[in-house]
Every structure is written in structure tokens, then in C-alpha cells.
């Protein structure tokens, strides 16, 4: 069993994601978050467990449900909230929003508005690690819905042919928008892995320690040059597809079952058994809330993005020749 300090740190990261998203949900309801908002509440153990196995130089490509990936990889709360609230101080200068949070300095290659869009990006990032001889891996987070996109199948093949340092991480929450996974995919990811001779492992996406351990088992061989790996995590979708989704297509029992799977509660119970009392968790929660409120206040005070700067920002400057 993991030492309490590590589990406590994993708990802190998961709680940061959950509280940040709960805060976003409220901000959205109050009209302070424009556009669409996809929350990953309930799924925190997957990004936190996987990113616990990563180094700063490792890269991740994310999905439309990417807040957890961004925060778990180390995105600062200030830039995160400012982006989603559409401010100049946002990580993407207010140009992308929730569905495009990105921070190249920590290897976070972006949330993505295109289902399956992150898969080839992560494949290419792994190629760059390989070509440059870097001891790094790339992670492609994708939802179960993306299994039906050709991109997954093309990337599995390419990654295996080139033995890329790439870990495919599927967050299988059982839903793609308004349709259950069973009605969208005729195969199993495990069988796809077998077809391409790519090692596959499944982990309980509610158990952050199990995800972290499985992620280490997948990341290490990829890092050693043994080629791509697959990790599939079953994880619950607590919320609608997007905020404001009335979820008429979903049986209440399905929603109740999802809400019964709580990565935070599970970790808290284990911590309690290891002697970490409610007082200690309360202190962690209070510190998180303070940091979140500070980030929200800073975002509210921040300037709107400058239009002329945005127009000038369409093309990158050419490199000066030496």
C-alpha cells in the first residue's frame, strides 16, 4: 500500500481538480464562463494517477474534458481560471477557453475540441521524443467515444510500427455525449491492443492508487524504448455531457451508480485508515479553496484580451537566420 504522504498528495491534486470544477460550474451558472463547459467531476483519479507517473518533460494531449489533465500536469490555477473566464491573463490569452486550455511549458499540449484530435498529436509528440533522443513519453488521453474515430486505429498502428514512447490512456466513462458506449463501439480496446501487439492494462478509474500503479507499469516500458502501451480506466460521468445538459437520455439509476463511485471519498477513507484524520483533510481543502478563490478574484480583475494583439497573433514570427 502507498505511503500516506504520496496518497495525501494525490488526494490534494484530485481535490484541487474537483473544487476547481465545482467553482467553474457555479461561475458558468452565473454567466461568468462563456461558451461550452465540459466537467470531469468524478473522473479525477485518472489524470492525477497518470500524471503522477510522468516527468515534467513528458507530454500529454487531452480532450474536450481536459481540465483534470491540465491541472494534474501542473497548470497554474491563475492562468487556468483566467482562460476559462476569457481574460488576457489566461494560459491561451483568452483565445481558446475551457476546451483549449494548454501550457506547452509543462508539456500540456492542449485540451481539444475535436474528438480524437489529441491522439495523432500525442503520437507526433512521442515521435519528437524519439527523434531527439529525449527520455520522455507522450500520453494521449481520449474518451471511449473516440474509439470509433479512425485516428485511434491509425495511431495504434503507427505507434506500434515505430515503437514510439506513447501511452494511450482511455477514460471510459460509458458515454459519448447522449449515447451509451455499447451502442457506439463494437470491439474492445483490449482486443485492439492485442491485434497490434500493444500491451494493454485496465485500471479502476475511481482508485487513484490503482491508476498510479498501472500508469507506472505502462509509462516505464514506454520510457525504456519498448514501444506504445494502452491503459484503459473505467470512470464515472457524474455530470451531463456539458453544463446545462438535462440528461433526459440517462436513467436515474445510471446517474446514481456513477455518483456512488467517488475517487475522493475512496482516497479519504484509505487515508483515515492510515491515520490521516479529517482535520488534516479539512486543512488541505481550506488551502485549495483559498487558492481557487484567489485565482477567480485575479481573473475577475484581469483585463479583457486585446483584439489587435489577437489579430496579430494568427501567424508566428519567422525565426531569424543565424
Amino acid at each position: 500500500m502507498t505511503q500516506a504522504p504520496l496518497l495525501l498528495e494525490l488526494y490534494r491534486r484530485m481535490a484541487t481538480i474537483r473544487r476547481a470544477e465545482e467553482r467553474l460550474s457555479k461561475l458558468f451558472a452565473d454567466g461568468e464562463v462563456p461558451g461550452f463547459l465540459h466537467l470531469s467531476i468524478g473522473q479525477e483519479a485518472v489524470p492525477v494517477g497518470v500524471c503522477a507517473a510522468l516527468e515534467r518533460g513528458d507530454t500529454v494531449a487531452s480532450t474536450h474534458r481536459g481540465h483534470g489533465h491540465a491541472l494534474a500536469k501542473g497548470m497554474a490555477l491563475e492562468g487556468f481560471f483566467a482562460e476559462i473566464m476569457g481574460r488576457a491573463s489566461g494560459v491561451c490569452a483568452g483565445r481558446g477557453g475551457s476546451i483549449h486550455v494548454a501550457d506547452m511549458s509543462i508539456g500540456m499540449l492542449g485540451a481539444n475540441g475535436i474528438v480524437g484530435g489529441g491522439l495523432p498529436l500525442a503520437t507526433g509528440s512521442a515521435l519528437a521524443h524519439q527523434v531527439k533522443g529525449r527520455p520522455n513519453v507522450a500520453v494521449a488521453f481520449f474518451g471511449d467515444g473516440a474509439m470509433a474515430e479512425g485516428a485511434l486505429h491509425e495511431c495504434l498502428n503507427l505507434a506500434r510500427l515505430w515503437q514510439l514512447p506513447l501511452v494511450f490512456v482511455c477514460e471510459n466513462n460509458g458515454w459519448g455525449e447522449f449515447s451509451p458506449h455499447e451502442r457506439q463501439f463494437a470491439a474492445k480496446l483490449a482486443a485492439l491492443g492485442a491485434a497490434f501487439a500493444i500491451p494493454y492494462e485496465e485500471a479502476d478509474g475511481t482508485d487513484v492508487e490503482a491508476v498510479a500503479a498501472a500508469a507506472r507499469r505502462r509509462v516505464e516500458p514506454a520510457r525504456r524504448g519498448e514501444g506504445p502501451q494502452i491503459l484503459e480506466c473505467r470512470t464515472p460521468r457524474w455530470r451531463g455531457h456539458y453544463e446545462g445538459d438535462p440528461q433526459k437520455y440517462r436513467e436515474p439509476s445510471n446517474l446514481d451508480a456513477a455518483r456512488g463511485q467517488d475517487a475522493l471519498a475512496l482516497a479519504a477513507a484509505r487515508l483515515a485508515a492510515q491515520g490521516v484524520d479529517a482535520e488534516a483533510l479539512g486543512a488541505i481543502e481550506r488551502a485549495i479553496t483559498e487558492r481557487i478563490e484567489a485565482a477567480v478574484a485575479a481573473a475577475r480583475a484581469a483585463a479583457e484580451p486585446d483584439f489587435a494583439a489577437a489579430v496579430a497573433g494568427v501567424y508566428a514570427e519567422a525565426r531569424a537566420h543565424a
Binding site: P34, G35, R95, G113, S179, Q184, V314
Partner: protein, 326 residues
Amino acid sequence: MPETRYSAAINRALADAMAADESVVLFGEDVAAPGGPFAVTRGLLAKFGPLRVRDTPISEAAIAGAAAGAALSGLRPVVEIMFMDFMTFTMDALVNQAAKAHFMFGGQCSVPMVVRAPHGGGLNAGPQHSQCLEAWFAHVPGLKVVVPGNPADAYGLLRAAIDDPNPVVFVEHKGLYGSKGELPESPAPVAIGAARIARAGRDATVVTYGAAVAWSLRAADALAREGIETEVVDLRSVQPWDEATVLESVGRTRRLAIAHEAVSAFGVGAEIAACVSAKAFGRLAAPVARVGAAFMPVPFARSLERACLPGETEIAAAVRRLMAPA
């Protein structure tokens, strides 16, 4: 005439086409059981059954490609792509397969298929959920591109698109779904390629389509209060587009602005401006004006998106410049 929502008019056109011809089938992401991401296809599964109304997985390339194949084999598929931004995945099916089959196979076959997709911004949906990409498709010989701006046209043009023997990209606007307009009790198809004079005027012509028709009409109201009478031509389809109506209107007003939400560069406005310059140069009293979005990805932040997208103000300003003495 009863008022109908744009989305309901599309729903009715689909239902009427399916009732009239059992080779019409419908598929796309969440279109059947959930009734469509924008509720456009609600009720059609119950009416026409699971053989003809199907949910697909998230597989846009296969959706469009299978529509082309089905069209080659006797069906008239109508498929939905959830956002026009995702039409990128359908490009091979449309551009290399569907658009060319009739020609390339020596006229042996036709590809009667319709791809419906909503374009447009205004929802702060960001760079990958707001684009207007219709000009790409208008550039491809063999494709037709239809962009209805009101419920009656949405109905009539969709019926015509489904009847058309060629692949048609049917472009809806997310911001129009909830808008209302009159739809006759027994609405008729609207011919693809015939523009509509949405407002008559003697001083300047604004050629437009889609959601920009309403912006242009509001601009014309504002201009009328200043004594400028603007004619608004709703193209309704951009491939083919109604050259005769545009040339006739410009011949009378001698001033032309083209307004659309898409960026101007290499766009529909560029094509029309080139054609009018070539064929009516002598009639023009002012250089042709174009109004479009700023040349940038559609940004997320409210202030940025507002500044990026054109509207009534920009259209009115363009017409005022046309009227200014040289």
C-alpha cells in the same frame, strides 16, 4: 401563415421527404434516439423506425463516405455532421468521391446525398466550434452548397437538396435554430440556385446569405432612416449562385457590398466581386465592398468574438462608404 422555428422547418422537411420517398434515410451522431444535438431530428426515429433513422458512432469520415456509397447504391441519405468544423473529416468522401463520381464514371451514376451541418459563431464556442467553411465546398466542382437564412427556405431548400441528384452540403446556422418565420401549410421546394430579393432598394445592393441576411435587413432599416435605400439579395445557395439576379440588382443600384460571416479572403464575396467586376464593371459607381469576419480563428473570449465577427454595424458602414462621393 403559421410561424415555425428554423429547426422545426428542417425537421418537417426531413419528415416530408422521408414520407414521400422510402429511399431517404437519415444518420449521424445522436440524431436518432436523442433527437439530435440541436433537437432538429426529434421524433423522426419514432416516425420512420430504426432501419431508416440511425445513430452513428463518432466517425465522421465513415458517415460521409457511407452516405456516398449508399447514394451510389439506391438510397438518398441525409447525414448530419454535428458542427461544420468537423466537416474536415468528411473531405475525402465529399471532395474525392461524391463530388466526382458522376463525372469521373462517365455519367453512369449520380450521388444524391445531403450533408447537413451547422456553421457560425456567436456562442463563444471557440476556434474549433464556430467556423464558416462553406467556401471550401463551393470551390469543388460537383458539389452544391446551400445556406438557408429563414425557416421557409430551410424547408424548401432541404426538400430540393434531398431531391437533387448531386451531393449537397446543406449549411445551417446554430444561431438560427431558434429563430421563427412563416412557413406555409403546404410548403413547396425552393429551387437551388435562385436568389430572393429580401428587400428592394434603389441605392445599393447587399448580397448575402444565411444568418447574415437578418443582419443585412437590420442594416437596411438603419440606412433607410438616413435616406439610403438598400436592396438585400439573399443568395440562398452559394454553389450554384444566382448570378443573373445579382447582376440585375447591381445594374440598377450600381453599388455592391457582399456580406457573410465567413472570413473574406478567398471567400464567396471574392467570387461574386470578381464576377461583377468582370461583367458589370461599367455599371459600378463604387468599388465592390466585402464584409466578413476578421482573418483569424474565431476567438473564444466574448470581447474578442464580438470584435471578430461582422454584423449589422459593419454592413451599414460598408454601404455608407459605397454611398460616399468618390
